[in-house]
Amino acid sequence: MSFVSEIHTSLSRSLLKPILIGILALTVAACGKDDTKTKNIGFLLGVDVFKNVFEGFKNGMTEQGHFDGKNVVYHLSAAKGDRAQMKSMCEDFVAKKVDLIVTTTNGAALACKAAIKGHNIPMVFTVVLSPVRSGVVDNLQAPSNNITGVRNPLDEFIGKRLEFFKTMAPGARRIWLPVNTNYPTTKHFLTALRDGAKQMDLELMEQEIKSTSEIIDYLGSLDTAPFDAIFIPPNPAPQSKEGYEAITNFADMHQLPIIGNTLRQVEQGALFSYHVDKKQVGHQAAYLVNQVLSSKDTIPFPVINGEPDLVLNLSKIRALGLKTDNALISFARTIIE
């Protein structure tokens, strides 16, 4: 072996291997840093009433640096409350191998939870009442199964609506509640509402209502109002266009205040609403999605709460001759005059 080859072999043995490994490691590290990959996000709208969640979500994602069509692509599916649709749409997301799924409503969350089982696709839910009791997650602090989301703490604050109402109408006593007790989420707020009524010394006149026609028929059958106010629960029939129209017509006719459930309802004549703003929920979901996508590992992210806002229809208060409380006005996020 020549001297040159001796030196070459010696240097090669001592230095070449670690250098090659180092260069390879640096190359792999450089190649592995794939931050520019476009993310595919499946968004399942359980019912159309929550389309504002998607609006808020997209805005929030943009604020977090995820631009629609550039580094993120949204696959929006609307199930219109159909459970079978929800299931197939979630399975479609899984088949498309989206990077993450966002859902609205308890039904959509449960459908997609089942669909992602066995797949490494994270899910962020929104507008879910009692996520633990409804079986979407096992706990709020560190939920497993690659699922987290924004909880709707309606059961915590629904009684607050009665407190606000009592402040405006101290003399009111009976409140009509057109409720479908079989609707999956009803059980999550009804108990809290009953407790609130008890605390505020109000009589909750619960009436089992399963369809819009039942509302129309019942209210049409009344000549006088046997109650002092109407409470709109988060059930489909009283929140449907026809159902709510029948309620507002009846309320206008009998000068009754309506305790609303959404901003739209306040805009259409309800006295006020204390609810979690849908766009804000979407915004919070974007915050969570960004956290999940930024994480390299499958780790539990805590479920966060939606924040309720008071929307006050001041003109309606005055029209009905109710008390205008300065504290409520100060607390209200939105005031309609």
Binding site: F3, V4, I7, H8, L11, L15, L16, P18, I19, G22, I23, L26, A29, N139, L140, Q141, A142, R151, P153, E156, F157, G159, K160, L162, E163, G196, Q199, M200, Y287, L288, Q291, S295, I299, P300, F301, P302, V303, I304, N305, E307, P308, N326, A327, L328, S330, F331, A332, R333
Partner: protein, 614 residues
């Protein structure tokens, strides 16, 4: 031309430097110096990179920690300002429940993280209360009685409580309180706020942190109150005391601290103290990420060192070859001379010293050539003379034998009376002539043998021989000597079964020589002992007489050419002086040894050894 100059042992240049060639040593020295210089420069550069990188990390982390602290400070200041303003208004301006409810509602509307607000008196009873989630149907008397916040408030100090987790929402809550003062600046109570820390976390999670960096807020006990990574915030993390201590030291000095992070990995961190609150905002980065640029620089240095080192090696080998080439040529020239190939010419390249040395070497080789030529001629002449001498001896010996045989025959006949009785004097003369003929014959035979030995032409007929038979036969053949010299031969006492590999005639010649010598030099009536002994792998045959022995100063010459101890003794001076020389040569050809041992005037023993045939 032939030559007896020994061949060189190798074609390689002579080595030095501990077995290393000059070329290799020179190349290694050049490579070593170059690589050492590169490594030194690389080390200094790497150290500079290390220092500057640490400074960069420290600056970056300090900047981000300050940014994080600013965010949290802004957030808390805003809350504290709002609380203090509300408390001031509640104490001095409004002093009515209705107005206080409005104040609380405004404050709650402004800060989404505020869950409940209460104005309490100095006994801890609620005066007015507002809640974001719960129904406020009645106020609680002495709810805050004995609560530590009361003593803090009485000292006009704001109060910050411990972190608790909401049982319903599992969110972290913390209690803040500020004193409510009257228009006489007297403490009338406190404004107490229960705050959801998640809103502070959000301030941390939107920080512009680099990859791998994280930020968190801890209180003086090491409890993590907020974290830039959302999944860390609800883990109820308490940092170890030593880590908390390092964080506080870092906040004091502004230096980097090297700790084990929340996940147990090694991190570099910088802490910033919050004003007015004993909280720290910490920003850290895992060391492996922090030092990545440093590692890359080191790798780059290693690659550069390798490449430059390789280049240096190639250049060094080139120069080493160039510098040592004349020496190599000189070594080749010497080797050629050593092989007998003189007049290699003179090198015409390299340094002048090398060229002069080459010239001197070439001159020396020419002189050597002359000397060798002369030596060769002399040797040839000597060989021719030796050949002539051998031929002369052979011819003379042969020519002498024929007439000697005739003389022996004639004198024998005369002594035997074949021509009738002769006068006594004439008979004595004839007998003398007969004896002289015998001696001359022996001398001629010995000279022929010696000449054969010297010219390496003596032939041997090796075969397996029984040593007893050999010795006894020799005794029989020399029995006449015993009678003639009046001595007695005593043969071997014991018959040993020993075989040797030898020439029957030559070994008999040796034995006869020793026995006849013993007979000649023994005393009258002496008994000459012939013995056979086994000595390990050899057999020793000895002949012992009790004559006068060999003079000490002659023993060394005894086995040389034409040697006799004492020529004055006519009786004993009947040999040629070649017998022992011939015997030694024969025994040597049998791989044996021949020698003499004698006691002080008592006996003389000649012996020889032969290898036993196993």
């Amino acid at each position: 031309m032939t030559s007896h100059v020994p061949e060189p042992t190798t074609d390689q240049p002579a080595k030095s430097f501990g077995g290393m060639s000059l070329r290799k040593a020179l190349a290694l020295t050049l490579v070593g110096l170059t690589v050492t210089a590169i490594v030194l420069v690389g080390s200094v550069s790497t150290w500079k990179i290390w220092v500057s990188e640490r400074q960069a990390i420290e600056t970056d982390l300090s900047y981000r920690a300050e940014q994080a602290a600013s965010q949290v400070r802004k957030f808390l200041s805003s809350l504290q300002d709002s609380l203090e303003t509300t408390a001031l208004l509640a104490g001095i301006v409004t002093r009515s429940d209705a107005n206080n409810r409005v104040l609380l509602a405004r404050l709650m509307s402004r800060h989404s993280g505020v869950r409940t607000l209460s104005i309490i008196d100095t006994d801890g009873s609620e005066i007015v209360k507002s809640s974001r989630m719960d129904i406020v149907s009645k106020l609680t008397q002495l709810k805050w009685r004995n609560h530590p916040l009361l003593s803090q408030i009485k000292n006009r100090q704001p109060y910050i409580g411990k972190l608790t987790i909401s049982a319903v929402s599992h969110e972290p809550l913390i209690t803040f309180a500020v004193p409510v003062l009257s228009n006489l600046n007297k403490v009338e109570g406190a404004l107490v706020a229960e705050f959801n820390l998640r809103f502070m976390w959000e301030a941390l999670t939107v920080l512009d942190l680099k990859e791998g960096q994280d930020a968190y807020v801890i209180n003086e006990a090491g409890r993590v109150l907020g974290h830039s990574v959302l999944h860390q915030v609800l883990r109820e993390i308490h940092l170890p005391k030593d880590v908390v201590q390092k964080h506080f030291e870092s906040a004091k000095t502004g230096n980097l601290s090297h700790i084990f992070g929340i996940n147990g990995n090694e991190v570099l961190s910088v802490a910033k103290q919050m004003n007015s609150i004993n909280w720290l905002v910490v920003v850290n980065v895992p060391t492996d990420i922090a030092y990545t640029p440093l590692y890359q620089a080191i790798w780059f240095s290693v690659v550069v060192i390798f490449l430059v080192g390789t280049l240096a090696a190639v250049v060094a080998v080139f120069f080493a070859n160039k510098l040592t080439r004349p020496l190599t040529d000189l070594i080749f020239q010497s080797a050629e001379i050593a092989r007998g190939r003189f007049n290699q010419g003179t090198l015409n390249q390299g340094a002048s010293e090398i060229r002069h040395l080459s010239q001197a070497l070439n001159d020396m080789s020419l002189q050597l050539k002359d000397a060798f030529d002369k030596l060769e001629t002399a040797k040839t002449d000597a060989e021719k003379a030796s050949q002539a001498k051998s031929e002369f001896l052979a011819t003379v010996s042969h020519e002498l034998r024929t007439p000697l045989t005739s003389i022996k025959g004639v004198t024998g006949l005369l002594c035997g009376g074949a021509l009738g009785d002769m006068p006594a004097k004439a008979l004595d003369m004839v007998k003398l002539a007969n004896k002289s003929t015998d001696r001359l014959t022996i001398l001629v035979n010995d000279i022929l043998d010696a000449e054969k030995i010297l010219s390496d032409r003596m032939s041997f007929n090796f075969q397996e021989l029984d040593i007893n038979v050999l010795v006894n036969n020799a005794l029989k053949e020399n029995a006449g000597y015993a009678i003639h010299h009046g001595v007695t031969f005593a043969g071997p006492e014991e018959k040993l079964d020993i075989k040797v590999y030898g020439d029957w005639g030559r070994l008999t010649q040796v034995l006869s020589n020793l026995i006849s010598n013993a007979a000649k030099f023994a005393c009258d009536d002496d008994v000459i002992h012939i013995a056979i002994e086994r000595q390990d792998s050899e057999v020793r045959i000895s002949v012992t007489d009790h004559g006068p022995g060999v003079p000490e100063d002659y023993i060394d010459k005894l086995f040389e050419w034409f040697s006799q101890a004492d020529s004055s003794d006519v009786r004993r001076n009947t040999g040629s002086g070649l017998g022992l020389f011939i015997s030694k040569s024969i025994i040597n050809r049998h791989n044996g040894q021949i020698g003499l041992s004698q006691g002080a005037g008592e006996h003389t023993t000649f012996y020889f050894t032969l290898p036993i045939l196993e």
